[in-house]
């Protein structure tokens, strides 16, 4: 399976203790751009700033000389055929600190991911995320950013990497989900999402502790949509138990998610599959 992993020779490879994030290139680059490109460079996608946010964290950690694990990025492309070289050249053009590329198909991408010991797989497609979770690959949604991006290539300060955890997944007991009428397949996704969150929380919890409560390049948010206030509090305590202190927390109790998500602007959104999320909410 290693044959479809390509090393980015422009970038120093990370140690084995690094936190591996495999991110789908759809969203990092705009692969559906109508503008004809004579050059080999793809335009930036709606989630491009995610890479910048990750790099900002790595830079700050390296500056602290901490020897603690950094983020190691793999760019994943399913079914890309002709555009493979464009993805590689665009990465190099923007100077992105992506250590490896994984070119695969929608059938075998989960196997390729498992081979890379990925800590988290990110995609803007809920179907990809759902499939990964079902096959035991930790996964979450990558979200488009609608904050106005700074002009030019000089982005002084990237907005902090914002991770949104699901308070419902973490705080709602299974008995309550069954009582509310959720099916066994739905509960399976729920369990997979929870396990995925627990593992990821442990690694970023460690990382989060390097930064203060304010001005951190990494922010962790928690949002409950269905659960009561006690279940929301229980989710906060669950996060603590996983070694992660949440910065911001929202309990909606049925209020609409989109306006709140628009304020939070997460990069990473932990998928809960509790009810139909057909697409990442249009945050524009």
């Amino acid at each position: 399976m290693e044959s479809n992993i390509i090393i980015n020779t422009d970038v120093v490879q990370m140690s084995a203790s690094a936190i591996v994030i495999a991110v789908s290139c759809h969203g990092i680059f705009d692969l559906n751009s109508d503008t004809p490109t004579e050059s080999d460079t793809l335009p930036k996608g709606v989630a491009f700033s995610f890479i910048k946010a990750i790099q900002a964290i790595n830079e700050k950690l390296a500056a602290k000389n901490s020897h603690d694990p950094l983020f190691d990025l793999i760019l994943v492309a399913n079914d890309l055929q002709g555009n493979q070289s464009k993805v590689v050249s665009s990465t190099k053009h923007y100077g992105l600190q992506i250590s490896r590329f994984c070119f695969c198909t929608s059938e075998d991408f989960t196997q390729s991911l498992q081979a890379t010991n990925v800590n988290l797989y990110l995609s803007m497609e809920t179907s990809d995320v759902g499939k990964a979770l079902q096959e035991g690959v930790p996964a979450a949604l990558l979200c488009p950013q609608t904050r106005p991006q700074l002009e030019g290539d000089e982005e002084q300060v990237a907005s902090p990497l914002t991770v949104l955890l699901s308070g419902d997944v973490m705080g709602l007991p299974e008995e309550k989900l069954l009582e509310a009428g959720f099916s066994q397949p739905q509960l399976q996704i729920f369990r997979a999402a929870k396990a995925s969150m627990a593992d990821f929380a442990a690694v970023i919890g460690e990382m989060r502790r390097h930064f203060g409560r304010e001005d951190s390049p990494l922010r962790v948010t928690l949002m409950s949509v269905l659960g009561s206030r006690d279940e929301w509090a229980s989710a906060l305590l669950t996060a603590r138990g996983w070694g992660l202190e949440v910065d911001e927390a929202y309990c909606l109790a049925g209020a609409s998610r989109e306006p709140v998500l628009k304020c939070i602007q997460p990069h990473i959104l932990c998928y809960d599959g509790l009810y139909n999320v057909t697409e990442v909410p249009a945050l524009s």
């Binding site: 409560r213 906060l236 911001e248 109790a253």
Partner: protein, 363 residues
């Protein structure tokens, strides 16, 4: 469309296709549960009151730690004491009164979403949330929605949660909210404790620059009282423009009418008061006619003709009194009334009738 939310808030949120889906999912989830606690109301139809953590609970000691020792020590302290409930704060009586009204509304209209919805809206860090929930549980308060922004401004979230009224101790946030068109006020505790009514919500409003715009107040400040009286008589039949708290009064009126519809006017658990420095004879008519033109009722209109508001408020005993001038806020506080300052209009540039010299900086 319901008049419970201000018109521009409703217009802005019309483009949220997820709202109905999210609500349907939440309702279906809740309806299947065997729990006895009532479901929180649908935000679009509710009167949403956002209270900050420092207005709901008394956090003076904790605030001191934050200011003197920094955020890390502050959060650490809160976590260490998270099983100790906080003491009630300045908005606590108001919140209890809102809950009383809700109980009566649920009795008369068991299926209605037109209720008070109380949201805890704070820029506190999420770790403090556990202590806040423990405290809310201790007093059995009906607060089901929370927004803890971890240091960021809560202003964007006020709109996201469809807030009708925002109460905070932080005057800068309140000012920002008002500039964004959200009714808001900075709360001040009373110096002595008046005994408040526990089966009726009593809300008192100043008129100019609170319910109404500051257009008339500008005339008083710039041209004096005589010009003001002449002007008000001349324009008696021209409604004043609306002020920042008009929509909140409107929302209260909508809930009051639900009681009237069930023959409960004499027993209505909401009572509103206008407490104005205007005099009935010379400038009162315009105010009453303006309210009538808006289709709004106010239960008692009290014209003080310049007399101090403190003693009258002490008799009325409202759960909250809104005024734009700090002079009146202080007078209210001294005699036991919980007062909320509305930082709007020309009154902010004056203190006790004199123009404040502004070097340009806020504290």
């Amino acid at each position: 469309m319901s008049e419970i939310k201000p018109a521009d808030m409703v217009a802005d949120s019309a483009i949220d296709p997820g709202e109905e889906k999210d609500w349907a999912a939440a309702k279906a989830f809740f309806d299947n549960l065997k729990t006895k606690t009532p479901r929180p109301p649908k935000p679009r139809y509710a009167v949403t009151i956002a209270v900050s953590s420092r207005t709901l609970f008394n956090m003076t000691e904790e605030r001191k730690i934050y200011e003197e020792e920094g955020v890390e020590k502050y959060v650490g302290h809160q976590v260490e004491h998270e099983n100790e409930p906080l003491k009630p704060g300045v908005a606590f009586p108001f919140v209890k009164a809102l809950m009383t009204v809700n109980a009566r509304l649920r009795q008369l209209y068991p299926d209605s979403e037109e209720l008070f919805d109380i949201v805890l809206m704070t820029n506190n860090h999420a770790q403090v949330g556990v202590r806040l929930i423990n405290s809310i549980n201790h007093y059995d308060l009906t607060i089901e929605r929370f927004c803890m922004t971890g240091g960021q401004s809560p202003i964007g979230y006020l709109k996201a949660y469809m807030t009708n009224l925002y109460l905070s101790k932080d005057s800068e946030k309140v000012q920002e909210a008002i500039e964004e068109g959200i009714a808001a006020a900075t709360m001040f505790g009373a110096d002595i404790q008046n005994q408040l009514c526990d089966n009726q919500l009593r809300v008192a409003f100043d008129g100019d620059a609170v319910l109404f715009s500051d257009e008339s107040e500008i005339i008083v400040k710039k041209h004096g009282l005589d010009t003001f009286f002449e002007h008000e008589k001349e324009f008696e039949n021209k409604p004043l423009a609306q002020g920042p708290l008009k929509c909140f009064l409107e929302a209260l009126g909508k809930l009051q009418r639900k009681f009237y519809a069930k023959n409960e006017r004499l027993n209505c658990p909401i009572r509103t008061f206008l407490v104005t420095a205007r005099s009935a004879a010379s400038s009162g008519a315009r105010v009453l006619k303006t309210l009538r033109s808006w289709g709004l009722e106010i239960d008692e209109a009290l014209f003080l003709a310049g007399a101090p508001k403190g003693p009258l408020l002490q008799k009325i005993k409202p759960h909250i009194f809104f005024d734009d001038q700090m002079f009146h806020i202080e007078g209210a506080k001294e005699l036991g009334t919980i007062a909320a300052h509305v930082p709007y209009g020309i009154g902010q540039k004056y203190h006790k009738g004199k123009l404040i010299e502004q070097p340009g900086g806020k504290k």
